[in-house]
Amino acid sequence: MKSIVAVFLLLSLLATASLAADLPKLRVGYIPEPAHGLYFVARDKGYFKEEGVDVELFQFGSAAEGMAALKAEKLDVGTFGTTAPLLFISKGSEFTFIGGIMIGGQAIITRPERLAELSGHDLKVYKGKKIGLVKLSTGDVVFKGALKKAGIDYKKDITFVEFGTAAAVVEAVKKGAVDAGLVWPPHFSLAEKNQGLKVAHYIEEFYPKYTCCRIVAPTAKVNADKETYRRFLAALIRAYRFYKTNENETVAIYTKSLKIDEDIIRNETYVKRVAESNPDPLRKGILEFWQHILDAGYIPNDYPIDKHINIDIYKQALDSVVKKNPKDKIYQEMLAFYKKNN
């Protein structure tokens, strides 16, 4: 009897392995941001395999390297900010946005003694100030977008000082070379923890649900195999549900995968909720982001970006998940969110 059970188990294992080997493969690039954690949840909880896609994750140290790998077709899909894919697309690269991985996440840090001066929920507190930033980072673009929405002429009323890295911005704030600095996770948490600096504002306070890192893929690959990308997004949609409902396990998965301190991940993800891991494409947000880049004068020519956004694959993925779980509150909220933002 034992030998029959053993043979059955062996055959089952072989069948599973054979099924996994037959699944379509996707090579996915990411950067080590806590809010990119849905990839690890989908992998560790087995959602990619259950949805029928064999995903291999590749970490990159910079958005430029990630985009170069995507362009060289060493990757099938990736998340490397919003600016980087927009710059590539505006120079003729055939990439398509199919989803997102992160919403929000940018913060303005200052020294503790300047905090009172910059408090309140009015962007006018930044008039006349010197602000450090990394040019074309999400924080730079959306902060300028928020200022414009608030009717502030930032080219006249604020002095921006550009730095090469977020670490250099933190250092400039610490030294007092600038009044405040725009950085992204986990830099502001690290600045608070290690340098004694304070977060004056999260940009989300002035500009709700702005787009951060988007999921982008080579257009030819997307058009050739929409079904595989749909499965990939369906797995991320299920990972989003898990992240919304299983705090401790999600923090453990993010921490293990990103090797960033657990307290920083928990704080950013669930306590202060500075960024949201959300796979929605946010089409309207991408178009606004592009407009902010043009308004800032960073790029001289407009480009038909909308042609490079595909929201249908995400919608099909969401519909397929909703169909299996029609009464699930989170999936219904995702549906409403999709309708509002696309």
């Binding site: 958005a63 710059l87 120079k91 055939e94 000082v161 550009e162 250099a168 690290l190 960033i260």
Partner: protein, 254 residues
Amino acid sequence: MNRLFVLTLFMVGVLLSGVKSGEAGGSLFRLGYLEHTGAALCRIAQLKGEYAQEGLKVELVRFSDSRSGLAALEQGTIHAGAFEVGEGLKAIAGGKGFRIIAGGGIPTATGPLAELDDRVQQRLDLSGIVILIPATGGAGEKETLTRLTAALVRAYRSSRAEPELLRSKSVGTDQPIIHFDPYPDYYRLERLWKRLDLHSSTFPPDFLANHVYEEIYCDALDRLLDSAPDDNVYKELSGKAVCVPDCCPKNKKQ
């Protein structure tokens, strides 16, 4: 004990100097340049020792016209070259596979005729200088090119601090004013590409972008800014460049 300490210091010094001279004394990099004031940054970098500072041993090879320089680049007798942008773009459109990694001097039209006729400046734009490299390079290519570009940016900085350097490297006696900028500026090149009507329907939409290697310039500038974050010239260049922003935290417990 003291003798042992001195001996150890001496050995460390010998080892360090060996490493340094090894870096600077690597294989020879042959940089072609056009006999044109716009290529002055290449010569200023040599004069001011900027190549050596970047650990490069550079031999400058002079050309009297861009076509012969581009032919040498294609044949592999030079590793990079400072030639006219119009000729460079035409060669790229002709399938030569060159890539542009940096800018140089762009003549600026002056006088009443220039004010009346845009075509004067348009013609001068095409005679501006860019740094071109061949289609493919070997291992370590990116690092070498980043160092080369950093040396040219440093030369630009020197020329700003000492304008007489540019005057000493000017060619001819009746030259137009030259505006120097080491930024390759894809969008400027795209405008020239369109003006020359070089795009073919058989090219992919990103054909030109694939021949403009801006990442080299961005990396070089980042490196220089890291070493001198308060330098006004580097900050000014950074303000003009459109580079993919650094995005990523260090992937380690902090």
